[in-house]
Symmetry: C2
Subunit: 120 residues, 2 copies
């Protein structure tokens, strides 16, 4: 039997699905019931409930106790952990961006020089 | 047959494993061969190769063409997409932090007032 995943793995696994990400996006606008969450996706209530369970286990949503409605709320704590995990990788994609920027600056300078040469 | 996942789902799925995250962390220090990547984990080469394939399919690593060594390199582009995806959630965990900060400030103020009351 596979052991319980570590919290960060559970978060990433929960985010690896476009429907679950869309549910989180919907919850940024405020709490919503399972019915409200199911509506835009055209999927069955059991399918939505399954997605909600994955999100809940990862700590990304909480579900109220009010028997009939049980509205879901976003719980963004685990996303902060993702943000912190990203920290050590930032310089790698920021560097790539810097290199692109350098290249564009270089190209711009060269094209200006050419322009200048043409005039002289 | 399940369809190919969208790029962001593929990235999150690739990150949902502690060994694959450790491989990425190792590659922040520079390129490494499959043998070098396998060494610290005490897992078989085929198991490491499987992890590398998942990372490669998600665009998180690239593997050189030099037949014998084929060193792997970090490719951080997809992590930038994760960073951008996080953007709309940031205010939720930053707000939570602000609320904690407010609570601490409040507690501090109250404890100072108590101190003051004790003296007067």
């Amino acid at each position: 039997m596979p052991s319980e995943p570590d919290p960060l793995s559970a978060t990433f696994a929960a985010l690896a699905d476009p429907t679950r990400r869309a549910i989180l996006a919907r919850l940024t606008k405020g709490e919503a019931t399972v019915l409200e969450l199911a509506a835009p996706f055209g999927i069955s209530l059991p399918a939505v409930s399954k997605h909600l369970k994955v999100l809940q286990r990862a700590g990304l949503i909480t579900q109220g106790r009010k028997a009939q409605w049980r509205p879901c709320q976003l719980s963004a704590g685990p996303l902060k952990d993702v943000d912190e995990w990203l920290e050590r990788y930032r310089r790698f994609y920021e560097e790539s961006f810097d290199r692109l920027d350098e290249y564009l600056q270089e190209t711009l300078r060269e094209s200006k020089e050419t322009e200048h040469d043409d005039r002289s």
